[in-house]
């Protein structure tokens, strides 16, 4: 039988506010253990929550950037469960009246696709339990940190689409500066609901929820494994049970955590300590007006600048990479043409990014935005080539050096003596030597073997350590060979 997977994703994204959602404590994760704790976030008896306005603004921005409809009135609710790192014994979240509903994200996987969003709601994070030999400790620095939960419709059909969705969502949140997207530190976490069904069936199969996987690669692998596991169960005549599973990255398997029967009854009810959250029209207007350029908008702009769709998609998949590109081209929103008026072709810049930069990053097994290079250095490099100061091959050497050391290209060219030689005298001398050293080839060329021209170019370039201006070499060589 032919199966298809049905996947819905729940993403928890930590908002980049300086203080926590319901108290004034810092959200700095690098602080000393339990340094960012006050009576409110430690749930001392009698304390009450006060909502962080900035967090609401950030959540509204996230909702707008993902095309959601913002509810003018939403309600906080208590989600009740016992765990030592949950100080109040309940988490303040939103339940039946979330901040925003609807919305969608367009993704590029095997094909272009629109993934619909069910809702976005605000909630607070729990603390962190640290287990030692025979006892456990609790660090409450993270307790009360503002999160948004973004819930997708079950529109995703493969691990690849899930990966594309998560990358796109993360990019959007990073573009609008509401989340740092750091998966290792848990600022961007994902739960995946996975089920399988015979292709074409209108009914959903029983789903399993895979909790808290901490990298894109692992999410994709966990989903792939889970799809295989469920298909195997169905094919061998079994039934998938509804349960929560965790992903063991070491063994690349998902493991049952708790069954439906063991699931918590969260006993949601409206949080009586907070009044209804009313979003004024003005807040939405301001958020909309100050929303940064989104990945899709940037991509369209790049395509209009003559960048191929694929390249534009790759560059805009990371805010940092796109900003690097914009600055290198001098087409960024902020800097514009001001810093350097000499025109640099965006196509040349994108060729360097897509070609050399990604090749080097891939060789180093690094993420596409994990590099330190000054965009103005790339711009200088493009200009050096265009002006004929160095040739393309030399430029690649210079680029690699820039990537490794962060040095300025002019400096590299000088230090390594890589400047292109266009001086006719020097080139003529080299040509004379080459012709003298290869008389038979010269004879053959003259008697009509035109193909040997390439051989001579190669020899001359070799003689000049690759630095000769190819155009000048071509012109002079043609003349000398026919003499």
């Amino acid at each position: 039988m032919d199966f298809e997977a049905v996947i819905g994703l729940e993403v928890h994204a930590q908002l980049l506010t300086r203080s926590k959602l319901f108290c004034g404590c810092s959200t700095d994760v690098h602080s000393r253990t339990n340094a960012n704790v006050c009576p409110v976030c430690a749930a001392h008896p009698g304390t009450l929550p006060v909502l962080n306005r900035k967090a609401v603004e950030f959540a509204v921005k996230a909702a707008l950037a993902t095309n959601c409809r913002i509810n003018s009135r939403s309600i906080f609710a208590r989600k009740n469960y016992f765990y030592p790192d949950l100080p109040k014994g309940y988490q303040i979240s939103q339940y039946d009246q979330p901040l925003a509903v609807g919305g969608y994200i367009d993704i590029e996987a095997a094909a272009s696709k629109r993934v619909r969003l069910t809702r976005i709601h605000m909630e607070e994070d729990a603390g962190k339990s640290v287990h030692a030999q025979g006892y456990s400790m609790v660090n409450l620095n993270r307790a009360g940190t503002p999160l948004i939960e973004i819930v997708s419709e079950p529109d995703i059909r493969s691990a690849e689409e899930a990966g594309a969705y998560l990358r796109k969502l993360r990019a959007i949140l990073m573009y609008i500066d509401v989340c740092d997207g750091n998966m290792q530190e848990g600022s961007f976490r994902c739960d995946a609901n996975v089920s399988v069904r015979p292709r074409g069936s209108g009914k959903f199969g029983t789903r399993a929820e895979i909790k808290n996987v901490n990298s894109f690669r692992f999410v994709e692998k966990a989903i792939e494994y889970e799809i295989r596991r469920q298909i195997q169960i169905v094919e061998s005549g079994g039934t998938v049970v509804q349960e929560t599973r965790t992903y063991d990255s070491g063994k690349n398997v998902t493991v049952s955590m708790r069954s439906k029967e063991e699931a918590h009854d969260y006993r949601y009810f409206p949080e009586p300590d907070l009044i209804a959250l009313k979003i004024p029209e003005a807040m939405i207007t301001v958020a909309q007006a100050t929303l940064a350029e989104l990945p899709d908008q940037k991509k369209n702009r790049y395509e209009q600048m003559g960048i191929p769709a694929y390249d534009a998609n790759v560059i805009t998949s990371s805010k940092k990479l796109a900003e690097f590109f914009d600055e290198a081209c001098g087409t960024g929103e902020v800097h514009g043409e001001g810093l350097n008026s000499t025109f640099v072709s965006p196509k040349d810049v994108s060729n360097w990014v897509i070609g050399e930069l990604l090749r080097l990053l891939k060789a180093d097994e690094r993420e596409i935005d994990d590099f330190k290079m000054n965009p103005y250095h790339l711009r200088t490099l493009v200009k050096l080539v265009r002006e004929g100061a160095i040739n393309n091959n030399t430029a690649k050497t210079v680029f690699e050096e820039m990537y490794k050391t962060g040095r300025e290209p002019g400096e590299i060219v000088q230090a390594k003596g890589l400047a292109q030689v266009s001086d006719a005298g020097a080139i003529e001398a080299a040509i004379a030597e080459v012709i003298a050293a290869n008389p038979s080839q010269h004879q053959d060329y003259k008697s009509g073997k035109d193909k040997l021209f390439g051989f001579f170019v190669g020899q001359v370039m070799k003689k000049m350590a690759g630095k000769a201006n190819p155009a000048v070499v071509n012109g002079l060589l043609k003349k000398k060979l026919s003499q």
């Binding site: 009576p39 008896p45 009698g46």
Partner: protein, 478 residues
């Protein structure tokens, strides 16, 4: 009492230290079990500071130098706060409740922490882990609850006035049972920050005093918006003594709800009530019968909503961060369950009821339905207040009952709150005022209920009762 003491302090006929010593001496000889913690050293320090403040003549408020008591559910920085429960152990909060902080800022002296029903759950003050409070009028009778210590302390002269909390009648019922005045302010008028939550949507801090004026004076110090409590209204602090005085002389239409005079109401209560009514009629007020048709559902609604919220509010008492923790080599679940066994019977009963009412499959039938009926009960009052300026009703169906009389029958106990609960459900202000004594000498109270934020009006009515109908004697031994 407070304003008279204030005059004496201001004219230096009496110092706050003397006054504080006077109360500390009385507390030392107390037989009502009103205090759980006495802050001897701290209160004398505060009294000394108050005397200096009075001497300087700067920032002197009517409460400067006045010794007050606090229900032990209000957090006090560095001073043990128990909620009359074993589960908190010797918990010392790292902060003052907003109301406490405001009292301190106005220069009041805080004598100590007052006994109560555990976590404010009860109507007789018998549910205290530290023993019941005895009614100062007759030690064989309960003082009412849950703010039993707060009421008994005022009656027995163990504080000039006190703070209690009222979730379903916990200020007004003990006020009625002890012959004191107790005000439950409009929900949101007094900050709940630092009040250990029982039922967040109903809890409200209120003063108890020997006179209406005392309640007004204390309210003036604690009322007003608090940015730390999102449910506190954006109201500026006000002088309720002056506002109350401004209300006097107005001839009002007062509604008497017919649903409050059904079977089960004690004869003496009905009699004293009608005497009070006659007195107020003589003073020029008009009385009309009104209907609050959903009154009969109040107790049921209350005991769903209050216990649901409580089940969640009390979850934090898990032994992980503060308070008592069960000892031994225990698994997490064992640690939780053994720690939480430290709750008293009534608290456990309510946690279980609340957990049930919120659980999957029952939420719609209980919690959601109760919320809907709560709106109907509020609506009853809104309708009534279109026709009348205030509502007058008995505070409780009876005078105080004997210690132990109802403790075995929770349902009977719950019905004590039948007249006080609707006010909390509607978030309205109400004041219980003494109107006489029953045959066996036990005090009887009556309450005025006002529109939201119409405290000045009900205070004025209460004061008029004091002056023109009945005044309960309070002797603080001066």
């Amino acid at each position: 009492m407070i304003l008279e003491l204030h005059e004496k302090l201001k004219s230096r006929k009496l110092s706050s230290v003397e006054l504080t010593r006077h109360y500390l001496k009385r507390i030392a000889a107390d037989r009502t079990n009103s205090y759980l913690t006495v802050c001897e050293e701290e209160s004398l320090k505060e009294a000394t500071a108050a005397d200096a403040r009075i001497a300087s003549g700067k920032d002197v408020t009517p409460l400067t130098g006045i010794p007050l008591g606090l229900k032990d559910i209000l957090c006090t920085n560095g001073v043990r706060t128990t909620c009359a429960s074993k589960i908190l152990g010797d918990y010392k909060p790292p902060y003052d409740a907003t109301s406490v902080e405001r009292l301190k800022r106005s220069g009041a002296v805080t004598l100590g922490k007052l006994n109560m029903d555990e976590f404010a759950m009860g109507g007789s003050n018998e549910n205290s882990a530290f023993g019941a409070v005895k009614n100062p009028v007759n030690p064989e009778y309960v003082p009412g609850g849950s703010s039993g210590g707060s009421a008994a302390a005022v009656k027995a002269g163990l504080a000039a006035a006190t703070l209690g909390t009222d979730t379903g009648g916990s200020v007004r019922l003990p006020a009625a049972f002890t012959g004191t005045v107790g005000l439950k302010p409009t929900y949101g008028l007094v900050s709940r920050y630092g009040l250990v939550a029982f039922a967040s949507s109903l809890d409200q801090i209120g003063p108890l005093g020997a006179t209406t004026e005392d309640c007004a004076a204390v309210l003036s110090a604690i009322a007003g918006h608090d940015p730390l409590d999102s449910t506190s209204f954006k109201r500026e602090p006000a002088d309720y003594v002056a506002l109350m005085a401004a209300e006097r002389g107005k001839k009002l239409r007062i509604g008497v709800p017919k649903e409050y005079f059904v079977e089960g109401i004690e004869k003496a209560v009905a009699e004293k009530f009608s005497e009070a009514r006659k007195g107020l009629e003589k003073a020029g007020h008009t009385f009309v019968e009104i209907s609050l048709p959903h009154t009969e559902y109040s107790v049921a609604v209350y005991y769903i909503l209050a216990v649901s919220e409580a089940s969640s509010n009390l979850a934090r008492f898990d032994g992980v961060r503060y308070g008592m923790r069960a000892k031994g080599d225990l698994s997490l679940t064992e640690m939780y369950s053994k720690t939480r066994a430290l709750f008293g019977e009534e608290v456990k009963r309510r946690i279980i009821l609340g957990t049930f009412a919120l659980s999957a499959g029952y939420y719609d039938a209980y919690f959601k339905k109760a919320c809907q009926v709560r709106r109907l009960i509020s609506g009853d009052f809104s309708e009534a207040f279109k026709k009348v300026d205030a509502v007058m009703a008995p505070t409780a169906p009876s005078a105080a009952f004997r210690l132990g009389e109802k403790i075995a029958d929770p349902l009977k106990m719950y019905l004590n709150d039948i007249f006080t609960i609707p006010v909390n459900l509607a978030g309205l202000p109400a004041i219980s005022t003494p109107i006489g004594r029953a045959a066996q000498g036990l005090p009887i109270g009556m309450q005025f209920i006002g529109r939201h934020f119409e405290e000045p009006r009900i205070l004025a009515l209460s004061k008029q009762v004091e002056e023109e109908v009945y005044r309960e004697k309070v002797d603080h031994g001066f």
